[in-house]
Symmetry: C2
Subunit: 486 residues, 2 copies
């Protein structure tokens, strides 16, 4: 739970010590706090040829209330920003010597149609990266490759992945780098996602690729589910109550008694949701305590029991539910030669089978309302496999299959389904890993540290947001850009 | 070029020394040699419910001439094998104490339709993994998830990825584990691929997922391009001359003067192809020497030159070409703040732009014949990104986009296009990496060692095979199942 090395290297003596020895020097990550401004500082804007997203970006910059500077690659930005009533200036490469000047780098690559047009990306990041401050944000915006008209365009857009992931690996200092592909027609549905990637809420999410699609999901969500639209609708961007986006929504969280599940419950409640927490009867006291604090509802059910889906459905039937978070999961690690049949079966059944049965019960009876959100917790082990975790990795790879396969079926009802895949998160579970393995897991990522349960919870809250209706069937890693993958 | 640690730990004293200290103990990988049998030993067969592929597997086992034993999960195997005239026995879990007894483990998971049916996978690998010998082979066979009728089936099939990758990570001892998805209707087009994954040719390919589709490519290839069918057609499997599958074919290899390119040229020539090697004029002597040895043709062209595609097309026009291997590539590593515009541009242009221009010239003029094969070299950096390689990773991610985007366009002509993504390969280039970084790159994979150029070359030869027409738009890593990924 406690990374004493991180604390040490950020003490005055420790900082000198690790510098002298050339040891990794992880940054204390800036995380979201309700009592601190979520967005501040200067955002540098860059663009490739014929950028399509500058108008949407100008709306965003107005909405989050930051100041922008235009890199020479984004000549169109200054007049556009002025039309939006934005204060804006020009980024001067000569100032590259002033580190920490910038809070975020945003590059609109949406108009790039050929590999020969990638050069402005070099110009922009070459000029600006050194000016990006600690815990700064890099977001590259493109078009979904598979939707591109020509192979040349697909190729150039796909190339952005290699760039973004490399930037994340070389930026260090708590900086994240992510790539957002925006489908044609979804230009004005980007705010919830860009807010997340620019916010301290995404402190431990880096090296990720997310696609925002135009979807039935989005339309339904916009019309029937936006209950608090206190803000004036800025331009054409859908307006949400950014402070309480989940107000009026009901969210079920499995495994909510403690750890990551309790953090998910807490973040969803802070965003306005009424949380129904589920955990096994033996954890009833912790579950009750967690949910009492959040003015939520505690349901003590063993999700592995055959009758559980029907019981959960019965408990939720009257008021329905808007958000389901499948967080409950177990590990029973052993190499396969030593793994008993019971260890295999219980992990597959709880981590995967129970999710399937609960969703069937809630979807079949229409308890999950139209425009709803399903978020399932997978794992980096489900992506890369892991020694001693054949059962766990199989179940978590199955979770990825689940969100990919169900997304098209749920689209007509405006329901999205996505997975988050945590990397090394500081929990009671990871605290039990032997020291050297634990240290390797902690340091082998672009943040040189483990994540916190709240990092997983914030990622889930973003996917649960009414403004995230264009995202479905996807997997987002919460891993600080772990080296480990497939 | 030389892994002295690998040599040391495999000496009598070294083996005792590393055991005493608990250091990694990489196996000397068994690689293909023309003077040694490619397939030998005992293959254990396992299966889930209602397996669809046992008949095709029986044909394969006949064709490669090995002996099989049926695990209790594959009760159908024994009568089926007898119908195919195969010697077969039963695998007795009691014999699990006899290590090294088995050469390969093959599991047919194609009939699994629900996560509750995954249990036979545990039973099979639990019973057999310890009996698998050094440099043994694990192949799991399933159905392509995205083609599955129900989300439940898709989920269960997708779960196989987590299992296979975990098996690769825990098996060690030079054992590879790969997952092959076989589309309905492609059951009898699996032999070229299964031969590769069972052969010492795939020594450094592990943790990979490959889909064999039914495709126009396959059909064209079967009818018009199988020039040497000396073998009797075994059952319904297409017959190829397995010893000289590329006889009569012409293959272009860029960057062929030395290193991985020379190895590719050499393997393709050994498989019967006439190789046309291309390299820059300054490497003309090495190029001439390499191609002279192979009775091939040397073309000294700078592929970056604007006139190169037309020159290459003119040189190949008369006789046409069947296989294009885009191997030429350069690195110019620097963090982006220190990377000049020229370093960015030249890497993007040579590694990506030149491939695009050459393919346009050869495809537009019909010089690449119907049923042809394009194989492009990507990199693990293109998948995961890499510090100091924004230019290289961008170009190599673009290569992935190129094969994904062009595959559907080429299908009607029976042409496949795929990428191979090498991990740490022992070359003059990697020999220049500083020692500690080099050691980390070498050891951070399931083989605890770097690969050899021939491992990349053999993978390319498999994709170039006339029997690989069902594989297109895919990326295969040659990385010993590197930990590094995305």
């Amino acid at each position: 739970m406690n990374d004493s090395y991180l604390n040490f290297v950020n003490s005055p003596f420790g900082a000198r010590f690790v510098r002298a020895l050339g040891l990794p020097s992880p940054e204390v990550l800036r995380r979201y706090r309700a009592d601190q401004p979520e967005f501040e500082g200067l955002v540098a804007i860059g663009a490739g040829r014929a950028p399509h997203l500058l108008d949407a970006l100008a709306s965003l910059v107005v909405s989050i209330g930051v100041t922008s500077v235009a890199h020479e690659s984004a000549g169109l930005w200054v007049p556009l920003a002025q039309r939006h009533g934005l204060m804006t200036g020009r980024f001067e490469p000569a100032e590259a010597g002033s580190p920490g000047k910038l809070a975020a780098l945003l590059f609109d690559a949406s108009g790039i149609e050929d590999s020969s047009q990638l050069q402005p990306l070099h110009g922009f990041f070459h000029d600006t990266l050194r000016s990006l401050g600690k815990c700064g944000r890099i977001v590259v915006l493109g078009r979904p490759p598979q939707a591109c008209a020509s192979p040349r365009q697909w190729t150039a857009q796909r190339a952005l992945e290699g760039l973004t992931r490399s930037l994340g690996k070389e930026a260090r200092r708590g900086i994240t780098a992510n790539l957002v592909y925006i489908a044609q027609g979804a230009e004005h549905d980007i705010e919830a996602t860009l807010r997340f990637f620019l916010s301290p809420r995404s402190a431990y999410v880096s090296g990720q690729v997310v696609t925002i699609d135009t979807s039935a999901a989005r339309d339904t969500s916009d019309t029937s589910n936006t209950r608090n639209t206190g803000n004036a609708r800025p331009l054409t961007t859908p307006a949400f109550d950014w402070a309480q986006p989940l107000a009026g929504r009901r969210a079920v969280v499995t495994g909510a008694a403690r750890g990551i599940g309790a953090s998910i419950a807490s973040v969803l409640a802070a965003e306005g949701a009424h949380v129904i927490g589920i955990d096994i009867p033996s954890a009833r006291d912790a579950l009750d305590a967690t949910l009492r604090q959040l003015n939520g509802t505690a349901l003590a059910f063993d999700i592995a029991a055959p009758e559980a889906p029907a019981q959960i459905a019965a408990a939720l039937d009257e008021q329905g539910v808007d958000i389901i978070v499948h967080n409950a999961g177990i590990t029973k690690d052993k190499t396969i030669a030593k793994m008993t049949d019971a260890m295999w079966q219980s992990v597959i059944d709880i981590n995967l089978g129970a999710q399937e049965r609960i969703d069937d019960a809630l979807l079949g009876a229409g308890i999950l309302r139209d425009g709803g959100r399903i978020i399932a917790v997978s794992s980096i082990s489900g992506i890369a496999g892991n020694r001693g975790q054949t059962n766990y990795a199989t179940s978590k790879a199955g979770v990825i299959g689940r969100v990919q396969s169900m997304a098209p079926h749920l689209q007509a009802r405006g329901i999205t389904i996505n997975a988050v895949a945590p990397g090394f998160i500081e929990t009671q579970m990871t605290a039990k890993i032997p020291l050297t393995l634990r240290e390797a897991g902690r340091r082998m990522n672009s943040m040189s540290q483990g994540g916190q349960p709240v990092d997983v919870a914030q990622t889930i809250a973003w996917l649960a947001h009414p403004g995230s209706g264009g995202i479905s069937g996807q997997v987002v890693r919460v891993c600080g850009q772990s080296l480990i993958g497939a």
